[in-house]
């Protein structure tokens, strides 16, 4: 029977291959900083290009300083970001202030560039409750710790923005490992069903702690998972800031035009460990692989691109580096000045109005703290 069927749609394998073939990585700048896709070039001014470069340089310094502050015991939880600057910052660069970011735990740079004071990011890292007190008008959630949970919440934020008539989008980030979670699929599917103005980014940095992406899924690309939810999906070179920017800008435009969400997979790499809590990447990554990815470095290629355009110099870069160091020093000072946390502080931030059951505990600790 089956041999007589000629309908190509009944060839399940072919359907998969056809879909997978469609997901080709978008690249605008190659590793040498040369434009390889003139048609896709975004219309950014020299100042904007310089600003994006500055942010990437600044964030690389922030990463280095955060790692050393963590080692000195002056910072708490930290998930290194080096290698992912294009993926993180060029996507944020395509946003407006009204857009709402729901970050994962590695996505602190995006929310800092979206307006969260650096001192608060440091307090958050230390588990100080003031770190989570997002200032009025800064549209970000605190970084999500549970893998993938931010994806379903993003659908809700997007629906809320839509209901309020805001011309804004909700954008979220997870990693390659996050795509294996039920929340990942539920989030993109739910948002798709309601054409919610959302952007879902997968930063495919190749390893979920130690598990390589090939062991995470049989899917050839993670972007193609969008097909199952019936939403657009795109894979971009996550080491190329211009490709990341363009993909996010286009997704944003579709979202605010009522065309619904987009899934973006950025092909990137984290140079450092998963977090500073004892991970040793040499157990699961080879030096060759590290070297291969470092050649794709987003700062290196973007620097070359800007230098060729004559709008970047060592002097300029040093200015940014000095500014970053200065800001970080100042932010740590501010964080250090935050009052020591008390148990009563933690009890009193749990509810809008303290219920009587907590009041009892509150009184007990208040008594203890007064001694």
């Amino acid at each position: 029977m089956a041999s007589k069927l000629k309908n190509a749609q009944l060839d399940a394998k072919k359907a998969l291959e056809t879909v997978e073939d469609q997901f080709q990585m978008l690249q605008i700048l190659n590793e040498q900083g040369e434009v390889v896709n003139e048609a896709a070039m975004p219309d950014l001014t020299d100042e904007q290009l310089q600003e994006l470069m500055s942010r990437m340089v600044y964030t690389r310094i922030l990463d280095q300083r955060s790692i050393s502050l963590n080692r000195q015991g002056r910072l708490g939880f930290y998930a290194p970001t080096a290698g992912q600057e294009a993926s993180q910052l060029a996507s944020q660069f395509a946003l407006e202030k009204e857009d709402f970011i729901l970050p994962g735990y590695r996505d602190v740079p995006q929310i800092v560039w979206h307006g969260l004071p650096l001192s608060q990011a440091f307090l958050w890292s230390r588990g100080h409750f003031q770190g989570g007190q997002i200032p009025e008008g800064v549209n970000v959630a605190i970084p999500q710790i549970i893998i993938g949970a931010q994806y379903v919440q993003t659908a809700g934020v997007a629906l809320g923005l839509k209901k309020r008539g805001a011309k804004a989008v909700a954008i979220t980030y997870t990693g390659d490992g996050g795509t294996s979670q039920g929340d990942f699929y539920e989030g993109i599917n739910f948002a798709g069903a309601f054409k919610a103005p959302a952007i879902f980014i997968i930063q495919n940095n190749r390893f979920a702690i130690s598990t390589p992406v090939a062991k995470q899924s049989a899917a050839k690309t993670l972007a193609q998972k969008a097909v199952a939810a019936g939403i657009p999906g795109v894979q971009v070179d996550g080491m190329d800031p211009l490709a990341v920017y363009v993909a996010t800008r286009d997704a944003r435009e579709r979202a605010i035009n009522g065309e619904g969400p987009t899934l973006i997979e950025t092909m990137t790499y984290r140079y450092g460990p998963h977090t500073m809590a004892g991970d040793d990447p040499t157990r699961y990554r080879t030096a060759d692989l590290d070297n291969e990815w470092e050649k794709k470095d987003p700062l290196v290629r973007f620097r070359k691109f800007l230098e060729n355009k004559g709008i970047w110099s060592e002097e300029k870069e040093n200015e940014v580096i000095e500014k970053a160091k200065e800001d970080i020093k100042e932010a740590i000072k501010v964080a250090d000045a935050a009052p020591k946390q008390k148990v009563t502080d933690l009890i009193s931030i749990m509810h809008e109005d303290m219920p009587f059951n907590l009041k009892e505990q509150y009184e007990i600790y208040k008594e203890k703290e007064s001694k």
Binding site: G132, I134, V152, Q153, M350
Partner: protein, 329 residues
């Protein structure tokens, strides 16, 4: 206030509809809550009045329903989410336990998640092992969540109003078998404070603290026991978090005897919490008899109707427990 007799189900619907008429930020989301009217018909007619954006019929996706409610709440909306059966809270558990319950705390007291998770619980409808449980004690264990279990049409309307007005996540358990019960209910909106027990029947010999459907079984038992000259006080905590300890303690000080009855499995149930709370309190000195807990058997709820009844406390079980307890002098 003008009242009329309506059912528990109608009271739930009325509370939501009245709130939605006066607050644009309130909306409902859940499975089959549109033209179908929800698994038990609670939202029937609402999509016609409020439209599909405010009565959002969702994909079968409990984690996304709960997560989207949280996300919407972060933008200032006040979502009410309906889970078809409270058993499905297992699928929404991460969003409720790790997210909703902790959002405000982790935002340093500045995040706000005003949301109500409404869901029918309990057995008695022949819905078997995966559609009949009473898992409220799980939720009661989580700091940051309030847990409400109304037992009458009057209570359900007032408590739902309070839950919708609350700026924190509230888990709101409706009992399937109570949907068709009726009471005099005011037409106007009113609020019953979350954390206030109600003495459903006054008595002097024994205190029976009962929740949800068990309130009615306890009242039935109390009426029979009155004929035997035993005076039973029936207390409905109405909300298990926060728990109105004072009302329970005062009652036990008066009667000297305590029985706690709930449908949920006895082991690890909220009855253990209530019994311990009394044992730790000044009421301990007043106890004339050991505290008794009645709860569900340690089995999944059976499909067979006779076994289904046998799996949870029934009126004869309460009668026996009271008679045994009052023997202690």
């Amino acid at each position: 206030m003008a009242t009329r007799e309506i059912t528990y189900l109608e009271a739930v619907r009325e509370a939501m509809s009245q709130e939605m008429r006066q607050n644009e930020d309130v909306f409902i989301l859940g499975e089959d809550i549109g033209v179908y009217g929800g698994a038990f018909g609670v939202t029937r007619g609402m999509i016609e009045e409020f439209g599909p954006e405010r009565v959002r019929n969702t994909p079968i996706s409990e984690a996304a329903i709960a997560g989207a409610a949280i996300g919407a709440a972060l933008t200032g909306m006040r979502p009410i989410l309906e889970l078809q059966f409270s058993d499905f809270i297992t699928i929404a558990m991460d969003q409720m336990v790790n997210q909703a319950a902790k959002t405000r705390y982790m935002f340093g007291g500045k995040g706000k998640v005003p949301m109500v998770l409404r869901t029918p619980a309990g057995s008695g409808t022949g819905a078997a092992a995966q559609h009949s449980q009473s898992l409220e004690a799980w939720m009661a264990h989580i700091p940051g969540l309030k847990v409400v279990q109304p037992s009458t049409a009057y209570d359900v309307k007032g408590l739902l109003k309070a839950a919708m007005d609350d700026d924190n996540p509230v888990i709101f358990y409706e009992h399937k078998l109570l949907y068709k019960t009726s009471a005099e209910v005011p037409e106007e909106p009113y609020s019953i404070e979350i954390g206030k027990a109600d003495i459903k029947r006054e008595g002097t010999d024994v205190t029976v603290v009962a929740t949800a459907i068990m309130v009615h079984k306890a009242l039935e038992a109390a009426a029979q026991l009155e004929k035997e000259g035993i005076s039973v006080e029936v207390i409905d905590p109405r909300t298990i978090v926060p728990l109105d300890k004072e009302t329970i303690i005062d009652s036990v000080k008066k009667t000297g005897r305590l029985i706690v009855v709930h449908e949920a499995v006895r082991r690890g149930g909220i009855g253990g919490e209530i019994a311990s709370m009394v044992a730790e309190s000044e009421a301990f000195d007043y106890l004339d008899a050991p505290i008794k807990r009645l709860g569900g058997k340690e089995v999944p709820i059976p499909y067979n109707p006779n076994l289904e009844k046998a799996a949870i406390p029934q009126v004869p079980d309460i009668l026996a427990a009271v008679r045994e307890t009052v023997k202690y002098k």
